[in-house]
């Protein structure tokens, strides 16, 4: 309890430092158009939060990005399973993985805007950002299966379910979790960027785009703050849900590899 309070105190102190710096910068600049003060941004955020539209916009953006993330998680795991077990598929898909990793998001946004339209674009872009990270991480996890323990499973004739529970999941989960943590923030950034470029209807991206057009800097900051907060909340939720769902051995493996 004392340790938690101390840690919370430390976090608040760091937050206060950066807020103070922001405040001083705003005072020094003296123009809300260039850098609004934290208070102005907070007031604007509260104003927005009191409208029903705000929550609708937030919900629609969450749905788009979360859909993209979920699609990426499912397809990333499936692709990793296929490419790790079938060498031909690994050779076949490797260039695709490299191309997705190396291509600028903007190129995909322009192309996908033509193919998919403005509403589905953020889903696709979020998926595209998360997919290679999850795919590569799960493949690494599969490559990391302990050969000695695989032999133990073989000689003691473990059925597939037991192998999955005792060896495969504990080995792959830390890689998968780490990929989730890394890519969720990226998915938000890319998803919102796609919303801006596509001017997706009822989206945070559209609000940011309009804030830019009408030079509403406090709105720009308020909506950016929303994106940051949502990213942090979803990242935390993913970690907590894995902990809650995970078996003890998965948690231990996660802990052991994180040490």
């Amino acid at each position: 309890m004392k340790k938690t309070l101390k840690s919370l105190g430390g976090t608040l102190l760091v937050l206060a430092f950066w807020l103070a710096l922001w405040w001083l910068g705003a005072i020094r600049m003296g123009r809300e158009l260039l850098l609004p003060s934290p208070l102005t941004v907070l007031e604007r955020l509260l104003e927005l939060a009191l409208t029903a539209d705000f929550w609708l916009i937030v919900l629609r953006s969450i749905l788009r990005v979360v859909c993209g993330i979920l699609l990426a998680l499912i397809s990333g795991v499936l692709l990793a399973l296929l490419t790790s077990n079938i060498p031909f598929l690994r050779r076949l898909f490797y260039p695709l993985l490299s191309v997705i990793k190396a291509t600028p998001v903007a190129s995909f946004v322009i192309l996908a805007l033509l193919w998919l339209g403005s509403s589905a674009l953020p889903v696709f872009i979020s998926m595209l950002i998360v997919l290679p990270v999850v795919w590569a991480a799960v493949s690494d996890g599969i490559d990391a299966f302990d050969k000695d323990l695989t032999e133990v499973c073989r000689v003691f004739s473990f059925p597939f379910g037991k192998r999955l529970r005792l060896l495969y999941l504990p080995t792959v989960t830390p890689y998968f979790l780490s990929a989730c943590k890394t890519s969720i923030g990226m998915a938000w950034k890319a998803g919102v960027a796609a919303e801006i470029l596509a001017v997706s209807p009822v989206s945070i991206g559209k609000q940011l785009y309009e804030a830019k057009i009408y030079l509403e800097t406090p709105d720009l900051f308020a909506w950016t703050l929303v994106v940051v907060l949502l990213s942090l909340i979803i990242e935390k939720l993913v970690t907590l849900s894995f902990r809650a769902l995970g078996k003890r051995e998965i948690r231990r493996a996660t802990y052991a590899q994180g040490e």
Binding site: D148, E151, V152, R154, V155, F158, L166, E249, A253, A256
Partner: protein, 188 residues
Amino acid sequence: MLKANNLCVTLGGKPVLENFSFFCEDVGCTALMGASGIGKTTFLRVLAGLIRPDSGEIESTFTRVSVKFQEPRLFDWLTVKQNVAAVLSGEEADSIAEKWLSAVGLEKHLHKYPHELSGGMAQRVALARALAYGGDLLLLDEPFSAVDEATKAPLLELIRAYAQSHAVILVTHSKEEAELLGAKIVQL
């Protein structure tokens, strides 16, 4: 009964076993002895089904093979008891695991994790796991490495008792261990 005829195994382009023949009965202990690298472990791996010989034949009446590898090979994320119970199924898995862990003198360490054990204790967990599995053929690859002398005696007795109703093939460098087990010695 197990009968191996003219087994040849090549690993990494190097012949490890050449025309090796072997026989053991349904019960009793056989000790494989010989210099390091001569193919003792390779032969056990062939019997465990982990390596396919290049040529030769194996005739066996054994249906369930237990293995204690040279290294403990425990699941780091499972407790001592869970590691042993993992090779069992059914409601009695836990009690059988406890029985064998008690037999190897680890009844006070059931809830420890492998990283909390000494090398010798980890070897004993691996031995308990192999015994608990209850194979009609038990393969033991240097089961007493890292086990201190005081602990070794009851373990030898345990394997001797097991060998009275099962077949045990043991790799060892110690003639004394083989003799204490009353094992038939096969020199490679």
